[in-house]
Symmetry: C2
Subunit: 217 residues, 2 copies
């Protein structure tokens, strides 16, 4: 599936800069998804955000849905590389929580997870979209799993809490927090949670024998 297209309007969603217009449309799609949600991300709305016209969407992507998926691809790639960078120097659980806090806040500011959440929820509306979206979430789970294994792998907790399962929960929690925060426009409760996690981090570090640097900020 998702075969690399031959005909116009069915080009692959994963090659980089074929025309500049593609990127323009993808960016506009992301913006529209963030501001108006899946339901508001119509060809007309996206075209307006891109400062062009809707015909281009069908010429370049074949359908609105395909453009939306390309937008999800772009966000996914962008975020995962950002995450990798942020987690490079993470050794302890405390470090992990720090990194995760920063990531969460910037994701929330930029509205990236909104795009993810809207696509997941919107997938219910059109048949077949679900599988495409699910495939694009896989990397997020793998990434979370890596991070967890690196900082908790040694702990006895990894017996009771296998990394893949925890990764699943982390992605779910991340998604849910973003939805709730976005819903009532208040990120306070979510931020508080990260603060609590930060306080508990030394406990986990002690369990796994990792160095537990400074605690209070």
């Amino acid at each position: 599936m998702a075969k690399s297209g031959s005909a116009a309007g069915m080009r692959r969603t994963d090659d980089v800069p074929p025309s500049g217009t593609r990127k323009l449309l993808v960016d506009a799609a992301i913006e529209t998804l963030k501001q108006k949600g899946f339901g508001g991300a119509s060809a007309r709305a996206i075209a307006e955000a891109a400062g062009s016209n809707q015909a281009l969407i069908f010429y370049h992507f074949g359908s609105v849905t395909n453009l939306l998926l390309a937008a999800l691809d772009a966000v996914s790639a962008d975020r995962l590389s950002q995450y990798s960078e942020a987690l490079e120097s993470v050794g302890s659980v405390g470090d992990l929580v720090d990194a995760a806090t920063g990531i969460f806040e910037s994701d929330l500011d930029a509205g990236y997870i909104t795009v993810l959440a809207e696509m997941i929820a919107g997938a219910s509306s059109s048949p077949g979209l679900g599988a495409e979206v699910a495939a694009r979430i896989g990397p997020w789970r793998s990434f979370a799993q890596d991070a967890i294994e690196r900082s908790l792998g040694g702990s006895f907790l990894s017996q009771a809490l296998p990394a893949p399962d925890v990764a699943y929960a982390v992605v779910a929690l991340y998604l849910g927090l973003e939805m709730l925060s976005h819903l009532d426009g208040d990120r306070g409760p979510a931020i508080d949670l990260f603060a609590h996690a930060k306080h508990l981090a030394p406990l986990f570090d002690a369990m796994s024998g990792a160095p537990s640097r400074e605690e209070g900020r």
Copy 2:
């Protein structure tokens, strides 16, 4: 806001059985929300599910959005009373996890949380809907908070993890798990998480001094 209506088509969403048709439409709205998502929950689709016609929706509820909110009200009331019943006999964390597991599975089967998730995500599409949905989530948070305070209130963890914040996280996680499970049609990972929680429950019970009955199933 949400004033009790006087004119036809603006009746209150919280009175019980004025016509039978109202309930029919609300049930159809729930069903449609579950099967086709927010985007697919059009007046036409709902009317068809109800075996009637769309004009009735506007007569009884004034707009599709109002009907959808009434559907959310119905689900919310139904679930919260169900939860109350399930948690009546909960004393220990182990009990709590057992109850939560059962609740989660039946919610997933019945698709109730789908309704919630779709409404939250769909709220981005139409202005003003967000606040209405947020108001209807409040009770879920309060409920979770109560349950947490009852079974963890004594533990030293309640210092590091205040019940309101944990409740927020629980609702977010619940929401995220349902979205992911629904997305790839596999509840396995979510169920596994509950199993892990069950294994860890005695630990928490020990902390708060509650009796920790049997552990293995």
